[in-house]
């Protein structure tokens, strides 16, 4: 707090440090975006601005197809992970086994992509084998290809990955909601759904929309799990990984990385800005008349 007796220069140093670290985390990404607009790409002495690399990838049919799959997955994840996060947050509020439940919901954060992807891969293969064997035993072909690697399995992998984020974001917003309001709404004659939709939801929708945004970006960026579980198609990050590993750092891969970085930054950046603006509005509304508590 700049208000007490802490040295003002130490305080400024603190801020400088925080901003420097944020910059440090962003700088490499900004640098590759910069490179991606260079005609002569990385390592050249000359810098000549061009958008050719971007034109090149957008003309590439495989890449456009991969963008389409990325989009499908993102929509699928939005439509499933966020409702599930919401249900989970509601469940958390009412369950008596809070610790066990939260452990189950948040554990996927602690299981690295390659491990989770491999375990699911073998899980799906086993189910597939077992069900097909069962079908063969019955003499029917209905089960052929059940849970074979493909869109569904990739989607499940991404849901497992994104639900913890949706859950935690919604839960944090929900923790500011007082349950007495639901009780009051029920007291006024609303049924459970009306109480939720008309009273609770308007107060937690910020969390729901932020989690939609986060989940979309997480899905858009996900490569490892999808690579293991996808079956026959490629997503945009999948193509980027194979480019990087097989061809190395070409102008095209810089442009692809540039697209991924810019999409995330614009998307998340605008969410952050909207949140900040909203927060300021709320603050102005509830500004204390006098004696603001400087820190609490």
């Amino acid at each position: 707090m700049q208000d007490g007796f802490m040295n003002i220069w130490l305080y400024r140093l603190g801020w400088t440090y925080v901003l420097f670290i944020v910059f440090l985390l962003l700088a490499p990404v900004l640098y590759i975006v910069y490179i991606s607009f260079n005609e002569y790409t990385f390592g050249a002495r000359i810098y000549e601005f061009t958008t050719d690399w971007y034109t090149l990838i957008l003309a590439d049919k495989i890449l456009v197809a991969s963008l389409k799959w990325t989009g499908f997955l993102a929509v699928g994840v939005m439509a499933t992970a966020v409702p599930m996060g919401l249900l989970a947050a509601k469940f958390y509020k009412s369950t008596r086994h809070k610790v066990a439940f939260v452990t189950l919901m948040l554990s996927p954060l602690f299981v690295p992509a390659d491990i989770m992807g491999s375990a699911l891969l073998i899980y799906f293969k086993n189910i597939n084998h077992a069900v097909e064997a069962f079908g063969a035993f019955l003499g029917v072909t209905w089960f052929h290809g059940f849970l074979q690697l493909g869109f569904t399995t990739a989607l499940i992998g991404q849901i497992i990955y994104t639900v913890p984020y949706a859950f935690i974001v919604i839960l944090i917003t929900m923790s500011r909601y007082r349950d007495q309001q639901t009780e009051a709404a029920r007291g006024c004659g609303a049924n459970a759904w009306q109480a939720f939709w008309q009273v609770e939801f308007p107060q937690i929708k910020v969390g729901v929309f932020s989690s939609l945004a986060f989940v979309t970006i997480l899905s858009f960026n996900e490569a490892t799990r999808t690579a293991l579980l996808k079956g026959g198609f490629d997503t945009f990050p999948n193509v980027l990984v194979s480019q990087m590993l097989n061809i190395g750092m070409s102008g095209e891969s810089y442009a692809m990385a540039g697209i991924m970085a810019v999409v995330s930054m614009v998307f998340i950046g605008s969410i952050i800005i909207i949140t900040l603006i909203r927060a300021r509005g709320i603050e102005r509304k509830f500004q204390p008349k006098a004696e603001p508590n400087p820190i609490n």
Binding site: V29, I32, I115, I159, M265
Partner: protein, 295 residues
């Protein structure tokens, strides 16, 4: 008739289907997260076949792991991961403390929000971006040479263990800031004023008050970074030198080689490492404290 109504109620009423909907997340997570994770242990003792595996009990996969260079590599990658945790703590935790202690209450969340931005850019891109920065002709080396600080490019920072640690820190540092801040949020700011009042020095406040109170968050952040450094194959693949591996990459290689029991054995070892860490941490610091702000 009344029986029919009862059935309808149990399906549609507030005590029926609607209520069961809240169990969807539990069921889904149990089915597609807990089950495959737990089954790794079972599959790791299956017999390997040419392209697949079949039920059985053999410790061949474990034997294979412990008698090859893989075990050694696993230990090395644990050391690198531990270094990444320490570096992230040293760089990231002071940010959580500074924001909680010195920044006006209303602005605290906004400062923390700043770290969401890099965190939400694809890890793939961020790790990949370290190459043109750290490389022989990279931004860092050319910059330092231009300034005359070095005359030869530093090559030890890319395609090396150091490169891997840098990549891990860049990837996972924000999590230390988030978890640290979450833990600090449970600490009333009065406490810092009490310290000022008593005259507790900066270092002493950090050691006696801040670290013990934020321990659950520090630990959770640390475990997250440790496990991901150990398990995310991307970082050593892109920034490590020849032969650089971590647990995730070994698993990946085993999958590619169609040695599924081996992949599962290494996964199981990693997951057990995780469970033991979390259990010990929970016994020491009561990790449920982190959840205080949301319960």
């Amino acid at each position: 008739m009344s029986a029919l109504l009862a059935i309808r109620d149990s399906l549609m009423g507030e005590r029926g289907l609607q209520r069961w909907a809240f169990y969807i997340p539990v069921v889904f997570m149990a089915l597609f997260f807990a089950a495959p994770v737990a089954l790794t242990l079972v599959w790791s003792v299956f017999e390997r076949t040419m392209f697949w595996m079949e039920p059985g009990f053999t410790l061949a996969a474990y034997e294979n792991f412990f008698t090859s260079a893989r075990a050694e590599n696993y230990v090395y990658s644990m050391i690198h991961s531990a270094v990444a945790v320490v570096v992230s703590f040293v760089i990231g935790f002071p940010i959580a403390v500074f924001v909680r202690r010195r920044v006006v209450k209303a602005a605290q969340h906004r400062v923390i929000l700043l770290f969401i931005l890099p965190f939400m850019i694809s890890e793939l891109v961020r790790v990949f971006a370290m190459r043109p920065v750290l490389g022989r002709n990279g931004l860092l080396n050319t910059g330092l040479m231009e300034l005359g600080i070095i005359s030869e490019p530093i090559t030890i920072i890319l395609f090396s263990p150091i490169g891997v640690v840098i990549g891990d820190v860049i990837s996972f540092l924000p999590f230390m800031v988030f978890a640290g801040f979450l833990a600090m949020e449970a600490v009333q700011t009065y406490i810092f004023e009490v310290c000022d009042d008593i005259g507790v020095g900066r270092a002493r406040t950090f050691r006696d008050i801040i670290v013990p109170l934020a321990a659950p968050g520090i630990f959770a952040g640390g475990v997250f970074i440790f496990v991901n450094s150990l398990g995310v194959a991307l970082v050593p693949t892109i920034l490590g030198g020849p032969g650089a591996v971590n647990a995730g990459l070994i698993v990946n290689q085993a999958i590619v080689a169609l040695d599924f029991p081996l992949a599962m054995a290494i996964s199981a070892i990693m997951l057990l490492t995780l469970v033991v860490l979390l259990y010990v941490g929970h016994r020491l610091f009561d990790l449920t404290k982190i959840l205080q702000p949301i319960s």
